[in-house]
């Protein structure tokens, strides 16, 4: 229980820090008052300047919420991939779905597409369609190769598709002129200047994906002992595998389409949670969700404050903070086990 309380506290604190930090520092108490006034119609105290309200509500809140959802989606997907593929190096991008989503996004920038009615929102929508198409292709290919859909085949299929799409992206980068900067900065990932629409696009995928994965924690535990063991205790192996892969891939594709390919969160957050709380998916999934979200919110805070007023790409920050943190945890845990 304390593990959940701690994780929720960390998530709420990270959100408050995320809203509070910026060129203009807003105290926690004022944030709470503003939210209370906006959501529950409470009176806004006099000492809070009125122009803080749009800063909180229109700029910072959407940004931290998006960061939280992206971080949570990637961490959940990473945990599921690692367990199902029984591979510690698996991350949300293993299956190639993110590459597919990236191709869609880069294509939109490259061709300068703007669909009527969608406007700039064309990019995430095209991106997520590409991601889903990629998932369908990977699964269909795997199934065609082998009806059982073994883990090895899935990983190989993902690598084939991923490599193919990466080449496409490189090709477009090579051919482009003016959009180069835009493409690169999208690829490095960002949650800046997105507004509520992006969270709105991600949210349904996030809710469904998270619910499906958490509902499959017992199956994921069974898969941790190998597909054979899962079969022996009565798991409908092939069906469950497809369900879990689809849920995790949709989470990934949706997250990539709204924020670009932010690395490290999906790989390392589940590992860190596992080091502290054990491998049981009943606990691992909810905690990965909370810590993944919190981690990305804080990474975003660092990305926009380190060399203010310029912003660093968030994908760089996640690795800059994440790698040493992971190293320390891993070192201490392993030492303790040996000692």
């Amino acid at each position: 229980m304390w593990m959940y309380i701690l994780a929720v506290t960390a998530a709420v604190l990270s959100l408050l820090v995320g809203i509070s930090t910026g060129s203009l520092s807003i105290p926690f108490s004022s944030i709470v008052r503003i939210l209370a006034a906006e959501w529950f119609g409470a009176a806004l105290p006099r000492h809070i300047p009125a122009d803080w309200v749009p800063i909180v509500m229109a700029i910072r809140l959407p940004r931290v919420v998006l960061a939280f959802l992206v971080g949570a989606s990637l961490a959940l997907a990473g945990a599921a991939f690692q367990g199902l593929l029984k591979n510690a190096l698996a991350d949300p991008y293993t299956l190639g779905v993110s590459s597919g989503a990236s191709v869609g996004a880069v294509l939109v920038i490259f061709l300068g597409w703007q669909w009527p009615l969608f406007g700039t929102f064309t990019l995430p929508v095209v991106s997520i369609l590409f991601g889903m198409a990629t998932l369908a292709a990977v699964l269909a290919f795997t199934r065609a190769v082998e009806r059982r859909m073994s883990v090895e085949t899935i990983i190989l299929a993902g690598i084939i598709f991923g490599a193919f799409f990466s080449a496409f992206i490189s090709l477009m980068i090579a051919l482009t002129g003016e959009e180069l900067r835009q493409i690169i900065s999208w690829l490095m990932g960002s949650v800046a200047m997105r507004g509520w629409k992006y969270s709105g696009l991600l949210l349904p995928f996030f809710l469904v994906g998270a619910a499906v994965l958490i509902a499959n924690s017992r199956e994921l535990n069974a898969f941790a002992f190998g597909e054979e063991a899962a079969l022996h205790v009565g798991v409908d192996v092939t069906r469950r595998k497809v369900i879990i892969l689809t849920a995790a891939a949709l989470l990934t594709g949706a997250a990539v389409s709204v924020s670009g390919t932010i690395g490290f969160v999906g790989l390392v957050v589940p590992h860190m949670v596992r080091l502290v709380c054990g491998p049981n998916y009943r606990v691992l999934l909810p905690l990965s969700l909370l810590y993944g979200g919190a981690f990305l919110v804080l990474a975003d805070v660092a990305a926009r404050t380190i060399i203010e007023p310029r912003e660093l790409p968030i994908g760089v920050i996640t690795s800059l903070i994440g790698a040493p943190l992971f190293a320390v945890l891993f070192f201490r845990k392993t030492k303790r086990k040996m000692g």
């Binding site: 029984k86 002992f225 009565g234």
Partner: protein, 488 residues
């Protein structure tokens, strides 16, 4: 409980199972034996739905395998695989709890009291209750395999399938796992179908065994009936000997190594004397059947020690004392036949006879202060033992069957009794002719090389030579004993 009907399976062009049909009764422990590639693991994988059933039919508890969903199957049957993949970080509790999966329903099932009871019960059955919160990787290999057995038991199956469950375990781990398994099977009416690599384990634990050879049934029945050396030799393509288990009414098996034993005719024997012992030493181990203090029963031995002890010897721990004595004098106790006597061992008689096809030798010491008429020994007062005993070692150059060993013992004993009668040795209590003393020891040893003797009774040349030599040695030993007694 389990019916397998004309099941065949092929991997590509290779036929691994070919029309296999058998049925397993409820509560049976059913073993599947066969060499590598005989199809045993394939058979288990077909029953456990790991491989699709292409031809034939499998019925579990009246229901066709093909009609069962994964969960339905797992409520009826459980599998203990050869080696389970390790899942780092999981505790014993979490591992065993997975066994409740087929009984849980809904998206977010709660852990019920039934689940907890089944988990506790399974852990108790395998003796891991105390390790419930240990991480799996901190358990020994045997304990881990027992944890997986507990997971299978937590499924509360009617049928348990095992694929070489003790493959990577040490002896104590194997015995514990199999004992637990047999217990659980009996207590729960569980049907067990197990693939065995080890013929001895199969023979000890199975009610019936199925012997597979090249995908076909080679034999099916109780281990004692079907596991004949001839069949096993054919199936496993290796020379195999069958023995009787000393404590269980089941056959035991060993290999016949293809190694030449060194030539060790009776002439290779050497008789030597210590201060208080006559020692016979063989150049190569001899197979011995004896009633000696040390190394009784069937044994392989290189040393025969006939130790002299005083009249007032305290025999409360004769065996332990003899063992220490052997160790002090550098005799390996596991390869030595040790006897005791109050007779002066310098009077030991050593006779040899070379036949045309064999040679026999006898070492004897005799004293008859304790002579007994076996037919009237019931008239004796208990504890009326006096010093005086006849110890004898008979060595035969040749291969003796077990029957020949027993006949050699009979022949030697009869010849000894006749020697006593001819020298008119009487039982002092009954006044009748004595047949031996109350503490006689006999060892019959054979080189187990050269000619094979199926019998050693008096109908055979070997038996006749043996009887004569034992008779002469006993008479001579008795003469020496009497002479020494008169001198005193």
């Amino acid at each position: 409980m389990l019916e397998v009907r004309t099941v065949s399976h092929r991997y590509g062009q290779q036929q691994v199972l070919d029309g296999v049909t058998f049925a397993v009764e409820k509560g049976e422990i059913f073993g599947i034996l066969g060499p590598n590639g005989s199809g045993k693991t394939t058979l288990i994988k077909l029953i456990s739905k790991e491989l699709p059933l292409a031809s034939g039919e499998i019925v579990i508890d009246g229901r066709k395998l093909s009609a069962l969903s994964a969960k339905q199957w797992a409520r009826m049957a459980a599998v203990l695989p050869q080696t389970a993949e390790a899942a780092p970080g999981y505790t014993v509790r979490e591992t065993v709890a997975l066994g409740r999966y087929p009984h849980q329903r809904g998206f977010f099932p709660t852990w019920t009291e039934d689940d907890e009871a089944a988990l506790r019960d399974a852990l108790a059955a395998v003796g891991l209750t105390g390790k419930i919160d240990e991480p799996l990787e901190r358990l020994s290999g045997g304990e881990r395999q027992r944890a997986y057995l507990a997971r299978a038991l937590a499924q509360e199956p009617k049928l348990l399938l095992l694929d070489e469950p003790t493959n990577h375990m040490d002896v104590s781990g194997q015995v514990r796992l199999l004992d637990r398994l047999a217990e659980a099977a009996h207590a729960r009416g569980l049907t067990v179908v197990a693939v065995f690599h080890d013929m001895n384990a199969a023979s000890l634990y199975c009610d019936r065994v199925l012997v597979l050879n090249k995908g076909k049934i080679a034999a099916l029945g109780a281990p004692a009936d079907v596991m004949t050396p001839a069949l096993l030799e054919e199936v496993f393509a290796a020379p195999i000997v069958r023995l009787a288990h000393p404590a269980s009414a089941t056959p035991m098996f060993s290999f016949m190594p293809n190694k030449k034993q060194g030539e060790s005719p009776v002439g290779g024997l050497r008789l030597s004397f210590l201060d208080d012992a006559a020692v016979l030493t063989a150049a190569a181990p001899l197979r011995v059947l004896s009633s000696a203090l040390i190394g009784a029963g069937f044994q392989w031995a290189t040393h025969f020690v006939n130790r002299q002890v005083g009249l007032g010897y305290d025999c409360s721990d004769a065996e332990g004392d003899m063992r220490r004595y052997l160790e002090q004098h550098g005799f390996p106790p596991e390869r030595t036949v040790g006897m005791m006597t109050a007779v002066d061992v310098r009077d030991a008689v050593w006779l040899q006879k070379e036949g045309e096809a064999f040679s026999v030798a006898v070492m004897a010491t005799a004293g008859v202060g304790n002579a007994v008429d076996a037919a009237r020994a019931w008239q004796h007062q208990p504890l009326a033992a006096r010093p005086g005993t006849i110890n004898m070692v008979v060595v035969i150059d040749g291969v003796l069957t077990e029957a020949a060993f027993v006949q050699a013992v009979m022949t030697a004993t009869e010849a000894k009794a006749k020697a006593l009668a001819d020298r008119s040795v009487c039982d002092p209590e009954t006044g009748t002719l004595a047949t031996g003393t109350s503490t006689d020891s006999l060892a019959v040893a054979a080189t187990q090389t050269g000619q094979v003797f199926a019998y050693a009774g008096t109908a055979t040349e070997l038996g006749r030579a043996l009887g004569r030599l034992v008779y002469e040695a006993t008479v001579e030993a008795l003469g020496r004993w009497e002479k020494r007694r008169k001198r005193r």
